[in-house]
Symmetry: C4
Subunit: 220 residues, 4 copies
């Protein structure tokens, strides 16, 4: 009734979108204008000008880690997948839309992080909302994949699957809380997003969630 | 006489172009200039400035959906294809040209949608004409693939193939109508393109068109 | 002595670079500034402003065709290749460098085509020189591939190989002539590049050059 | 205990990021503004304006070679790899972060190379530091791959592996020295980076390091 295909092209297209989004981040690292061109009479020099742009580097670093970890988890998730159907294609497209959006809130936050007024809070909230959208999209993709056992390799550890879903829910709550934190302190919000990214780097639970199927050598 | 190859690299190149086109859309989401830099004495703030750019977000969303659905349908189409020849390579190149163009009319429409004068109509017409070009290119690619049974897997449902061609023709008529609508109301035109994209998302006919070959497990 | 690998990743990397270069071309299609913002008191409107930018569209079209045909010929060439060595990797890297450069002379020519003075000639010459570089790089890649029979599938038609090399030489002469033509008429130069691209589209010789190996079903 | 997967998607994602980073370099080759628009009364012409931008071309060329050689060595390295684990995924992500950063120091150096003051030294030092970071990341990836024999194909030449690690250490020292050289002469620093890239092009040691496994036909 429903048509399914193997996930090779979905993986290739997803790899492409995520590789581009993660690489486009560099376009927002701006070269400071020459002092004379900027009408800048006090000679701070290039080193100071670069140091002044630290919010750009911090936002770049956090967003790079976020997209990199999304890719690693997407990769781990699809080692469990044998076939994809249209629901998986569309929830995956939703995830890709959020991922490809990330450069926008990244440059917004880099631009407004050091603003004195409420603009920094707004920028941090937009960034946090994007991350919440990413968590929602990831949870939706996980639901689409696990709702039909026929889409999965036989070795799925169902308890691990449910544990992963619980952890996705926790992620939703944390990212939701980041939106609130944005209106308190924009710097702290970016720091929390960085800490979350590092946490997911060393997260062993998500590893064990895929180990049942991936630890043995699959002939893919 | 004519040379054919399997379609793996055509799929890889197409995935690349579509992944890049869909991700480049984000470059046209502009960060609003700081209020003081813009010489803006009335303090609207970042939130209002972002809200003011809603045409960019609407155009981004519609174009993302359009390219995403083109990819999904391209993917579905090529599950039926066993071999490609030069005619398929060149009609596919034509489709990729239109897809890679999409970011241009998208930013044109985002920039001019709220213009008071006839410029909004022109921008909407250019956007609609690009979508018509996309529908023409897709129809041409379908023709190139189905004109030679030797290019297809054996399981092609020919009635479904003819139904798909009829539906492509309908698409041509609808997109042609959008060009006319552009000169009446630019907002309505963008809304219709969004509705069309959503319609294709849930379109079951195109699913059934590929189910004959794809529902069984192909050893590709 | 020399190490060789199969060409899968070379193809994947080349597909990526060519897909990106062909898609980046769209970034140089500029949205005309709003009439009031441009300090333009005479109301030409968006349609006239877009029409005024026809050199951008012409240059986009020609460069898109050129990169698309490079990809198709690269694809045809590598259906004959069984193994790649370091000489192939580096001559291929040279070709990719020229391909990834193409967006630069394209926007240069688009910007200066309608200049009255000698700048249009210079821009056309830079464009033509890039195309000459592309032809040189393609010839070098073909030499690297065909210099060692061990790199090829067994079915190479060696007469066709020599014919292809002769045709590459002809291409070098034609592109060299385009540099001279640039200093006579920039418009004619762009038209010749477009005609050359269309010629290669319908070129049957290059098809026959690969048909010996590709016409039968290779288990790649 | 630890989960591993084959490295196909890691290679695909890495190919994507490196292909994009190498192609984005072209965005920093700027078309000179028209003489009249620049308020330039003395008619230097386009040819002189292009010649004036030679630092952009030099930086483009060196960075293109650097990323190209990283790709070739990455490719050679992964012909030895049978399985990847999370440590390889993350050290590879670190390498990709440095590679995707390269367009930023490239345009920084292109912009400031001909500055009279100390800014040229700072720009060259940032460029050199990025190259050092690349060498560190490459060494880390090599360590992650070779620390576990189970990740490798059986044919690893361990002496060659240790020789490669020694050579990586030498690379670290040379790139570290380039940071110091930056504060003496920025032009010489760029020239050394170009010479290093050319040296790695013709480097036979890294070839022999992979020849043990790759010279025979692997059924990958």
């Amino acid at each position: 009734m429903t048509s399914t295909t193997d996930g090779k092209r979905l993986e290739a297209f997803s790899d492409g979108v995520m590789a581009i989004a993660i690489t486009l981040l560099v376009l927002d690292l701006k070269v400071p204008p020459h002092a004379e061109a900027a009408g800048n009479t006090t000679a701070h020099g290039l080193a100071a000008a670069l140091g002044h742009e630290w919010p750009s580097y911090a936002a770049y670093l956090v967003s790079f880690l976020v997209i990199g970890i999304i890719w690693i988890n997407h990769h781990a998730m699809f080692t469990q997948v044998r076939r994809v159907d249209r629901a998986v294609l569309f929830t995956n497209l939703g995830l890709l839309m959020v991922v490809s959006l990330i450069p926008f809130p990244t440059r917004l936050l880099a631009d407004y992080l050091t603003s004195d007024d409420s603009d920094a809070h707004v920028a941090a909230a937009v960034y946090s909302a994007t991350m919440l959208g990413m968590a929602v999209a990831f949870t939706g993709l996980w639901w689409a994949i696990t709702r039909d056992a026929g889409l999965l390799h036989e070795h799925l550890d169902r308890a691990a699957g449910r544990a992963a879903l619980r952890r996705f829910s926790l992620g939703l709550a944390v990212y939701g809380g980041c939106i609130g934190l944005s209106f308190v302190n924009a710097y702290a919000t970016l720091a929390v997003h960085g800490a979350l990214a590092l946490y997911y780097c060393f997260d062993q639970l998500s590893t064990s969630a895929v180990s049942a199927s991936a630890a043995e050598e699959q002939p893919r």
